[in-house]
Symmetry: C2
Subunit: 368 residues, 2 copies
């Protein structure tokens, strides 16, 4: 599989939903496979909150491959011998695209808390500019889970002629207060972290790299990405150490798991990006409040494929079923498919249980 990582700079404004703009912006992106002559073999992959453009393959320096490596590659469900796959780092995210720690051209300083709030549609709009520059005007499919699924739905609604297939996993048409509440823990923990300094933390402050507020926020995420059943099976009431029963701090395997994964997170993720992305997810509403969801989904021309997971504790299967029901109500039953995957892995199933939906995706793509 051919892998390339590139950066595109756009010296033109990106007008945002908020009425604000980015005077210029950059997108870092990765591609897998080769673009065919008529540029008709493109599949777009969209990443989730803490994901990056590195969706597949493994760099020499890496212990682990890209986040969807099970799914994307030669002969895999998203087959890179056939398709040219593009995964961009979302603007707002801290893996190399324009984000709050980028330099604001008007001040020559980092944006930090002056960065504009982005909507999902802004992220998608920036990606569309990338495709235009690459001479790509349509895609076989747009595929994404969680916040990547929000992007996939946004492509379907706002760019209805772009993709033949939209494959949205573990996502929702609008973020419910339950999900907003989990994000709220992160927002408050980061805000109150004294190292955060109201967004003015030192960029290379080693303590900022281990920001406990972000770690605590990540912990809230880790809970709702998994499921009670998975926690029971994975950790039970096992001890992390045998002498901790009556010690106040530490004891259970589940606590050790949360500590390890939460405290390692700020070493590679920026707290300002985390705040902005939480906000982007919170305000996502495919119905755009004033309209009805039906009006939005009535615009869809792609085939819309919804994949939900039984134990998803962040975006419950009912939220995906709501989209299916709207499509049916609109008389689009031939244009929508819904698959409920039984899985104890919760929300993260779209990342870790690829084997449960890869054949379904192969089937979707088989004539494309």
């Amino acid at each position: 599989m051919k892998i390339e990582t590139k950066v595109e700079k756009f010296n033109e404004p990106l007008y945002l939903e908020s009425g604000r703009l980015l005077e210029s912006f950059e997108i870092i992106y990765e591609t897998y496979g080769e673009l065919n002559e008529d540029k008709s073999n493109v599949i777009i992959v969209c990443h989730a909150l803490s994901g990056s453009h590195h969706a597949a393959g493994r760099y020499a320096s890496e212990a682990k491959a890209g986040w969807w490596d099970k799914f994307i590659g030669d002969g895999k469900a998203i087959d890179t011998t056939k398709y040219f796959v593009i995964c961009s780092n979302n603007i707002g995210s801290s893996y190399g695209s324009t984000c709050p720690m980028s330099i604001d051209p008007s001040t020559k300083k980092e944006y930090r808390l002056k960065f504009p709030v982005l909507a999902i549609s802004d992220i998608v709009k920036a990606q569309m500019k990338l495709y235009k520059r690459l001479g790509i005007s349509n895609a076989v499919a747009v595929v994404g889970g969680s916040m990547g699924g929000m992007q996939a739905l946004c492509y379907a609604i706002e760019h209805p002629t772009f993709a033949k297939h939209i494959i949205a996993l573990a996502t929702t048409a609008y973020t419910r207060p339950w999900a907003i509440a989990f994000n709220k823990i992160a927002i408050e923990a980061i805000r109150h972290d004294p190292i955060f300094k109201n967004g003015n933390y030192k960029k290379d402050d080693p303590k900022a790299l281990g920001l406990p507020g972000l770690a605590i926020g990540r912990m809230a995420g880790l809970i709702c990405y998994l499921s009670p059943n998975l926690f029971n099976n994975k950790f039970g009431r096992d001890y992390a150490s045998t002498d901790g029963l009556y010690e106040l701090f530490g004891r259970f395997e589940v606590e050790k798991y949360l500590e390890y994964n939460a405290y390692s997170f700020p070493k590679f993720f920026d707290p300002l990006s985390y705040l902005y992305i939480c906000k982007t997810m919170n305000i996502f509403d495919a119905g755009r409040n004033k309209d009805k969801l039906e009006d939005s989904f009535d615009k869809v021309q792609s085939n819309l494929h919804l994949i939900a997971f039984s134990d998803d504790m962040l975006f419950f299967p009912q939220e995906m079923e709501e989209i299916r029901d709207i499509m049916i109500k609109l008389g689009r039953e031939n244009q929508v498919t819904y698959k409920l995957v039984e899985s104890q892995s919760g929300h993260d199933s779209f990342l870790v249980e690829v084997e449960k939906f890869e054949d379904h995706v192969r089937e979707i793509l088989k004539d494309s």
Copy 2:
């Protein structure tokens, strides 16, 4: 209804599960109604994590009545014209019973992080000493929800001849990793709060009273005490202010709710108590690890009444059903009842939806 609030001091050691001891201890408790001559009309009420001994009635200074006022009173399901109700503040809690901020007699200073970890059985053991001093040797019923339900189960198993009825609501026989994970957010947020100063915060430091770490921990609790359905119905995607859509901080009603309730909490609850009580809940295991749950429940002589709530996201109904199934397996089907209450209020249903189980409790108590 006659209400009395009293304190009992015990100048005798309380030997703890951990092998440690409290050299002396105090219990603040409240009583409702009047003790009859042969002391045979006692009902014990046990409170949850953030509850207190003030379960019913309203003080002149109070805006709100005690936490179970709908349930306890003259003519109510726990009828104070008939019963003498006792609710103690759990040791470890910060409402007046011995807790981490109490003076350690051996050092003449506050215990703080030198306070011993308490098990549910230690809390119950202290309460049993109170009843002994009051000349009370048995009860018509022990009633409690959540952590109060853990105490109720503990009475059933460790003091099997004490109560005729055990009524346990919204609780579990052993704390699962899902619940431990929510507590972990609180533990980590408090530990990393610089105002907490590793437990050495100033007692009267006004900032300590607003400790954001405890508030953030409370926020995690508030999420799992409610339910996705309740959040949807109560908050939807309503704005708290109309101008906040593209502002980074604040916007949604659910965020306003969480902020208000979380940030007011540290004004009346002590962070060290919160840490210790989380630990007490985390280590609760009626099966005591080495034994089997069956061995524990085989000791029960009381009638065991289990009340679960459909949308409980902290202690799921299946956890209550497990106890029922064990009782049936032990051939005790005549000694156990199980009621599943349909309620969107989640874990907090035991507090706020009393009307859905009060008749059931009246029926349980009617011949007592």
